[in-house]
Subunit: 536 residues, 2 copies
């Protein structure tokens, strides 16, 4: 949506200024009722250099500055990832040869692998971790690797094996047909983990059915049945000596837009429906139709858990099943529940960290090349600048600025060689603009100003010029030479001038061929903590 | 609904037989698709003595026996307690002088008080526990008293006080207008607890608004706005260095029947809506209307938390607020999240235990009276029977049968005195029928048979009659005298005959004026574990 097409109240509600949003946490500082009843745009103006659009509001004179691009936070139009709109639904054949899996060791060691596994749970509804240590209680560590355990009446952790006095069929050797767990809870646990410690019994194979696909099939084939199941609250119940749970929820829940969002299917725990006879008849017909569809050949993915496997699956979407097993045989799983919101959060944070992988690759690739006319590589130069900043007690943001200050050399269309040949590549600006996608101004602005800081220091510190390396002297002229007095005054008024000058001094010293500074990985966790949080 | 009016498939789905429901846990043992496509009633028959209705099914010949009363589990038609249909909504004046509260000590000590407090949270949306020890971490114990803590990115427990680098406005001294917490989580934590450790700062008063009442007012006054808010998913967001949460949920969520079920209202964390301009305009008008309504004078209940107070409130319904406070002042709350399903479960289990209070009162009241012609009171007689059963290693159910075997004397319209005067009060049957409302057949049937067991033993053990007390000899004749051979054979064939005979022998010995058996409270926990779980 173009800024001028947007309803004024929406635009005003998305004002990014520090009076409207707490710069510390991005939370809005006003209530909807604090806005004028009908905010009106008094004037708009494009800011110089394409840096955004200024809006002055009537009647209160509030000033908003919107960055280029679509206004507001970067919220995708598709949704929060939880409805059918954001899923890849499947039947068993779709996953032939590509069941989502990873080893526990890879998952732990590699950010990209963790992201892939969690993305598979989000997109396909499940993933299988292999070679998870067969230690009792380990399943809680798997859950903690991406979220929070949801304790229930079955405990933080439950043992799935034959029990002498079971309060649930899960704790017998009986066959269990496809179902979702804990439908009698509201909120239902949205994730389940099952960790296989032993599986030597005859039988006890596992199965998964994509309930979203099945519900979509029902909608296509029998829209009336689908409709009935979405609007009939079903009384799910569970009771034992210590527990009496009940939740009235539909078998197929849709969101406010009618998109499939949650499946509950568990005949074992459906209590007695109390409805007029006509509604009962319609419900039972629809319930049977869905039940038959869930058993349709080809839907269910069959597999066998082997010791060390840990299955993570979406309990709002996938139905799970197992074949009967001999109660005399050794079969022992440990399970726990967790929630999708925590998993999605971890996934988003991992995605947010992707640029760090890109930066690491740059340091290892282009960064290993010689730094224009100096005796160190470009990467070593920046690593030394970061180390010097740290040694001087700089803030993490300013250390990061030191680490990344010459990143513009890598990505610019005008290369560093061009700069040496007499064309300014404006690498401080291209670097800062690149970094602004991932970091806030406390990182980007010292980078942006670090060339200007050289011109500034040449103007205000007569002895500074004498300390510049030959290459720096060479590039100074291309970059504009020492500042005039007026330029220097303007520079000093910039709120980031002080940081830029500090950065500049580390920059000048970070060219020691005899020093080896800590590598990029040393800084990864610090950089992760500085990444912008206001992008999706 | 009369049994014959019910749709056949519904009736069949609610068959209570041991083939259809696991007697150990009440779970259904078949899938909907295991039933005949169109089950038909082949025949029905009323069983002798009004004990139920037998149905024989075609085509499979399955036999169901339905107990008298409405068939199926006792599921109320109203719902699971979570929608407006099951709430008492309020404005501040409604609660004048009756803010739901209890002391922590009373709450811990008294089942009825715990039930009342949790019922207030269910019905009114909140309760205030007073004099909760001001120990850091105590709030987790309060949550554990009725449910399970829900851990979030704020931890298991969070400190509400001024933080140097807050990731949330809650951790500043700012005024916070009425809102619900964590709307960016799905599932949202459905309960919040706030425990006041210190509140010496100027300001920092608390407020609660009933969001269900406000939403109902909006529906009445501005149905279009209500409708818009129920069908517009709002992208709630929260992000910091470790977290990136998003949930697209409406401000007012209704259940499958259109009843208000969940409110999310938190302007601080609403991200950028991406909708066509017309929908944005309609949404913002409705959002403002709801926001204005929530601030309407009279809705908000104002109070001040004092040290030791712990507020428990429904985060799907109540909005909470606080006035600004001086950041220099000492104000420290500890909070945690939990879930309503656990609280409702605990409430149901407490309600299930009400009959134990009634039984305790009977033991203390009528039970203190003299036992018909014996040297012990009725209560002491039954307590001795229980103690003898325990000493002989009887099961909890059979100990309970011993404890309660003469309960029919209390409640019968024909009193024990009538029995002594020559009219059989059939106290074993009335007692068993009374107990059947709360206990299973393993408790009730030995009670039912304990008089028959006397007649049986007189028939099969010649020396037994000689050991009877004078009063027992007297009542034997009224009760029918020794059994005939055929009667004795029939008795012995009853699956509970063995337990009834054991009970009878403890009954006969439990008349020792020199013994004082443990009192009723000694057995309360054991009885609680035996209560039927298949009633609401």
């Amino acid at each position: 949506m173009e800024l001028t097409d947007a309803p004024a109240v929406w635009l005003r509600d998305n004002c990014p200024c520090a009076l409207c949003r707490d710069p510390r946490n991005g939370q809005k500082l006003f209530q909807i009722t604090d806005l004028p009843a009908e905010p009106v745009i008094a004037s708009t103006r494009e800011l110089p250099g394409g840096s955004g659009t200024e809006v002055i509001w009537a009647p209160d004179g509030h000033r908003s500055v919107y960055a280029p691009g679509r206004p507001g936070q970067d919220t995708a139009a598709t949704g929060d990832g939880r409805t059918e709109a954001d899923k890849e639904t499947w039947v068993a054949a779709d996953l032939a040869g590509r069941v989502p899996e990873a080893t526990w060791a890879e998952y732990l060691a590699d950010r990209a692998e963790r992201e892939r596994v969690l993305a598979d749970v989000a997109r396909l509804g499940f993933a299988l971790l292999r070679d998870v240590p067969r230690r009792p209680g380990q399943v809680l560590d798997v859950a903690a690797s991406f979220g929070f355990v949801r304790e229930t009446n079955y405990g933080e952790l439950f043992d799935v094996r034959v029990e002498p006095d079971p309060n649930n069929l899960a704790f017998t050797g009986a066959r269990i047909t496809p179902h979702t767990d804990n439908p009698y809870r509201d909120p239902v646990p949205t994730l389940q983990l099952l960790h296989c410690l032993t599986n030597a019994a005859a039988g006890g194979d596992s199965g998964l059915v994509d309930g979203f696909r099945a519900a979509a099939l029902l909608r296509a084939e029998n829209p009336e049945a689908f409709e009935v199941l979405t609007r009939t609250p079903v009384p799910f119940r569970f009771a034992d000596a210590h527990t009496a749970l009940r939740a009235d929820r539909p078998l197929i829940d849709v969101d406010a837009r009618g998109r499939i969002r949650e499946i509950r299917f568990n005949n074992r725990s459906i209590g007695t429906l109390r409805l007029p006879a006509g509604e009962l008849t319609a419900f039972y017909a629809a319930y049977r139709a869905f039940g038959e569809l869930l058993q349709r050949p080809g839907l269910q993915l069959d597999f066998r858990l082997t010791p060390g496997d840990c299955l993570i699956f979406d309990n709002t979407r996938l139905l799970h099943a197992r074949t009967a097993f001999a109660e005399s045989g050794a079969r022992h799983l440990q399970g726990t529940y967790a929630d999708l919101d925590g998993l999605f959060s971890t996934l988003s944070v991992l995605r947010r960290q992707r640029p760090l992988d890109d930066l690491a690759a740059l340091f290892a690739g282009q960064g290993a090349e010689q730094y224009l006319g100096e005796e160190v590589t470009q990467a070593q130069h920046m690593l030394q600048a970061a180390a010097l900043a740290e040694a001087d007690g700089a803030s993490p943001a300013l250390i990061a600025a030191g680490l990344l200050h010459d990143i513009g050399h890598f990505h610019s269309t005008v290369s560093g060689e061009d700069l040496m040949a007499g064309t300014d590549n404006r690498h401080s600006h291209t670097g800062a603009d690149l970094l602004a996608r991932w970091f806030g101004p406390e990182v980007t602005e010292p980078v942006r100003l670090h060339v200007a800081a050289k011109r500034y220091l040449c103007a205000v510190e007569p002895e500074y010029f004498g300390r510049l390396s030959a290459a720096s002297v060479h590039t100074l002229e291309v970059q504009g030479g020492p500042m005039t007095g007026a330029e220097a005054d303007a520079f000093a008024a910039n709120p980031y001038a002080r940081d830029a000058v500090a950065l500049r001094r580390w920059d000048d010293r970070a060219k020691d061929a005899a020093t080896v500074a800590p590598g990029f990985e040393h800084w990864r966790a610090m950089l992760a903590g500085l990444l912008r949080t206001d992008v999706a």
